[in-house]
Symmetry: C2
Subunit: 155 residues, 2 copies
Amino acid sequence: MPETHHHNHPTADVETKVAWAVARCRENGLRRTKAMEELLRTLAVENRPMRLAELAESEALATQCDPATVYRLLLRLEAQGVIRRLGLHERSAFFIFLYPGEHHDFLICTDCGKIEEIGMACPVEALENEVGRKFGYQRIYHELEFFGLCPACVG
Amino acid sequence: MPETHHHNHPTADVETKVAWAVARCRENGLRRTKAMEELLRTLAVENRPMRLAELAESEALATQCDPATVYRLLLRLEAQGVIRRLGLHERSAFFIFLYPGEHHDFLICTDCGKIEEIGMACPVEALENEVGRKFGYQRIYHELEFFGLCPACVG
DNA sequence: GTACCTGCAAAACCTTTGCAGCATC
DNA sequence: GATGCTGCAAAGGTTTTGCAGGTAC
């Protein structure tokens, strides 16, 4: 299965995504734990960028494990390529489920920090390939974010 | 002068940029200080994303002022729209000089963190306008970053 | 049984703020 | 002279790590 391609297509079923991610982690030697599954499921259900703190306090995980565990899990899952860390200008990092064939672009309010997803075709794919070739980078992907004042903050 | 437009064109002269930024700040009631000028000049000369710590330790500023001052200056300059804060996945924020008509897209190594600028036409401008209209956002701009393993880290 | 994973707690880092004194306008 | 800017120092918030014990395989 390809690492990434950027067509927006219908979101896969949550359990399908979780099963895929767990399988991939296990293939690479990670142990299947309750916390891993719950973390992946939370990210798959929410399907939006979430912070460590938010995840650690979520119903599914708060009773399940320590924030430090969530932190270390996020590192492992990112290394496995089943989640991605995003830089969205906040002080804390955001993480989102990374499922093959799905791509997300976001619109962030510079005032209130609201994050919404843009369900529009992303025009960057061709450039991405060209950049990879020209600069000799491997495993390339991109992040595209739009920033501006949302209607509520424009007042 | 328009807030932003995204044609890549030859970089303006450093002193021109600094003078423009200082003028704009003064028009909006900020006081002209040595630290402000040095900070702007450093960013204009380097013309790349820099962190607070890096700026505060730079030759021009280390002898000039306290890190807290650099921090507060960065906030003010960002509010004036003469610099921009970038989210590049590091724990600390990056800032870059923002001159009308100039646009930057970056390529960042996911392993060593090297940041290079891509001098290629950015295909996002049309989408940016459409997103602004569709979602009702004002003062919209975008950030496009490519991530991957640089040749040295592929090794 | 072994290697990995977890909880707890502390350290490390970067950012942010309070306040008294100084510089710009 | 008034207001904003600065330096110093301390607080705040998130991330990161050490270590002893528990768990998946």
